[in-house]
């Protein structure tokens, strides 16, 4: 059974982890700005769908990525307006986004393509070496996000807003504008991750194809203690679990359902402070 380990497993790990990395970084931008983001799943799903729609009608998968960005950002903007402007409960709004994304994608699949379940197939992104291009994007994103958050004035402002928006306001930060920007950015990134699933890994949209990955990304964000590098390693760990589970199927009698539980159980354990404490931004949800 040892031949399941090795280079293919490492490649599969990064491949599984990539959408989680991109989405988790998006999630932490929103949460660093003080806006709870349990709607990552919905934004990812909408991104996956819009990527296929645009790729289908233009024939160009690169434009499809922009479709994904648009889909994710559009939902995020609704979340932002409802929860920032109209001060709705952010968890409620996020729940509604997830329900909306599910309904909208199934509905539009019928309207645009007249099918239910799976969309017609479209041109997928070209493979760059062993990966689709968005895998590299995810890795670059980690570096950029890390440098941005910790080494730029805007990053400092972002962190300040998440910890104490009133204090940030008094020193001249436009808190509302900053929140809008980062919530929308988080949707755009989740949308890219969705595109990575639909036109990066596959060349179709399938109903509910994100299959909880948005929530695993949320878990990775928490497990990584709201830092880009932490999110990277958490996503790699969860990606490894997924890749290993696929490769071990039929070889080792561990039910795959138990491997699927790993990200969620780990997150609960770390949140409870049994293995190091994960502390959210102080002004989250306020």
């Amino acid at each position: 059974m040892w031949d399941v380990f090795g280079i293919p497993l490492l490649l599969a790990t990064l491949r599984s982890a990539s959408p989680l990395i991109i989405t988790a970084i998006g999630g932490l931008f929103a949460e660093r700005a003080g806006v709870i983001n349990i709607a990552l799943e919905g934004k990812m799903l909408t991104g996956a769908f819009m990527a296929v729609v645009v790729a289908y009608f233009t024939g160009n998968p690169w434009l499809g990525v922009f479709g994904g960005i648009f889909g994710g950002a559009f939902l995020a903007l609704i979340h932002a307006v409802v929860s920032i402007k109209y001060k709705a409960n952010q968890v409620v709004s996020g729940t509604a986004i997830n329900i909306l994304a599910y309904g909208l994608t199934v509905f539009l699949l019928q309207v645009f393509f007249g099918v239910s379940g799976t969309s017609p197939s479209v041109n997928k992104l070209p493979a760059w070496g062993p990966f689709n291009p968005l895998v590299y994007f995810g890795l670059v994103l980690v570096v950029v996000a890390h440098l941005f958050i910790y080494y730029t004035p805007q990053g400092l402002r972002l962190r300040a807003v998440g910890e104490n928006p009133a204090a940030a306001e008094t020193v001249g930060v436009n808190v509302i504008r900053l929140k809008y920007f980062f919530v929308t950015l988080s949707g755009a990134l989740a949308g890219i991750a969705g595109a990575a699933l639909s036109i990066g890994d596959l060349s179709v949209f399938v109903n509910q194809m994100t299959a909880g990955r948005g929530f695993i990304a949320l878990a990775a964000m928490i497990f990584g203690k709201w830092t880009p590098v932490g999110a990277l390693f958490a996503a790699l760990l969860f990606g490894f679990a997924e890749a290993l589970q696929i490769r071990l199927q039929g070889i080792v009698p561990i039910p795959r359902e138990f491997v699927q539980m790993i990200p969620y159980v780990f997150t609960m354990i770390i949140l409870a402070g049994f293995v190091g404490k994960a502390t959210p931004p102080a002004a989250l949800g306020k």
């Binding site: 968890v91 509905f107 959210p280």
Partner: protein, 358 residues
């Protein structure tokens, strides 16, 4: 404004905002239907007929609403204690699993013992599942939202493992064996010739639960304490109420209600545990609780509304070609409007220029 007028205005607001949210939701849905080139009035009329057109359809609507009454009540009860229980879906599945286990294995018992025992097992299993995030919140200060989300996914995986493995009935479909006769809830179709509805005696459990929760929240000390914690935990603590104890209790009771919903589906509506049977009753419960203003009576009405959307949707799709999933979109939009009630208030103020609606 004297005290009586203020009270009346408050009551009016309690009614106007949910109704306004439904109206705006239907309006947005109507625009979407128009956009795909269909007639929204025909579609909604068809939806309404599909849900309430005759006695059998009405029974189907109530059958669809039954679990929503319980999940809505579960979410609402936790809300009253200031907790957001997104985990009702997982708790429902765990309760359903427990009901399926006890309901298919303990043969030879009389129904008078077997049925209550099966329902009790669902209540206990869900209560334990819900207690975990409650305890983690009370003892370790972890936000219940994240933990209940995580536990939903753990429940999905666990249920999939059990139903495709140890509890699987022979055959292609991943489902448990049929519930033994002694643990079944009686369906309307079994006692009424005219009906094909799976509406079952579980509806009485749901309504009874509403009465019990109303009594508990507003007529007992425990209910007073739970509401006090929900309104202001610091003030409650200062007043000598144990916040931690009430958080755990509220989650446990919320879990019990979710477990009842799962039991009703397995023992009554389906008659077995079919993998993936829930279209998201737990999440719809969030919409139901919000629209019902976290009050048992409101929850019943909101559950019937959402139940009717789902049960009428198929008929609408069949007759007008509007995809059933418009119903899911409607649900989401209604939640947005209930959550951001300022939008509703703004809309009606601008329309009527009365300014007193909100």
């Amino acid at each position: 404004m004297d005290k009586k007028n203020i009270l009346n205005a408050l009551r009016l607001k309690e009614l106007v905002l949910p109704l306004g949210a439904i109206f705006l939701g239907l309006l947005v849905g109507g625009i979407v239907i128009l956009w795909i080139g269909k007639n929204p009035f025909t579609a909604y009329a068809s939806l309404f007929y599909g849900a309430f057109g005759d006695l059998n359809r009405f029974a189907n609507t109530i059958a669809r609403a039954t679990p929503l009454i319980l999940t809505g009540l579960a979410v609402a009860f936790a809300f009253r204690c200031g907790l957001f229980n997104i985990g009702v879906e997982g708790q429902l599945l765990i309760g359903a699993l427990s009901a399926a286990f006890v309901g298919t294995t303990l043969s030879g018992l009389p129904a008078i013992i077997h049925l209550p025992l099966t329902i009790l097992s669902a209540m206990v299993a869900s209560a334990i599942w819900a207690a975990i995030p409650g305890i983690l919140k009370a003892k370790r200060g972890v936000h219940e939202v994240i933990n209940t989300i995580m536990m939903n996914f753990i429940a999905y995986a666990f249920v999939a493992f059990i139903i495709t493995g140890p509890l699987k009935a022979p055959g292609q479909i991943p489902k448990s064996a049929d519930i033994l006769g002694s643990a079944q809830l009686i369906r309307l179709s079994e006692i009424a010739q005219w009906s094909t509805s799976r509406l079952n005696t579980g509806i009485f459990i749901a309504l009874l639960a509403c009465v019990a929760i109303y009594y508990l929240l507003w007529k007992t000390t425990l209910g007073y304490e739970i509401r006090a914690v929900g309104l202001n935990p610091y003030a409650a603590e200062y007043g000598g109420i144990s916040v931690n104890r009430n958080i755990i209790l509220a989650m446990v009771i919320s879990g019990v209600l979710a477990g009842l919903a799962g039991a009703e589906r397995v023992l009554g509506f389906h008659g077995s545990f079919i993998l993936g049977f829930s279209p998201g009753y737990g999440f719809e419960g969030i919409a139901v609780a919000l629209l019902g203003k976290n009050h048992p009576a409101g929850v019943i009405l909101a559950a019937i509304l959402f139940g009717s959307l789902s049960s009428g949707g198929r008929w609408m799709a069949f007759n007008t070609g509007v995809p059933t999933d418009i119903v899911t979109i409607l649900q989401a939009v209604i939640i947005f409007f209930v959550a951001a009630e300022q939008i509703v208030a703004w809309f009606f103020r601008n329309k009527k220029k009365t300014g007193q609606v909100a």
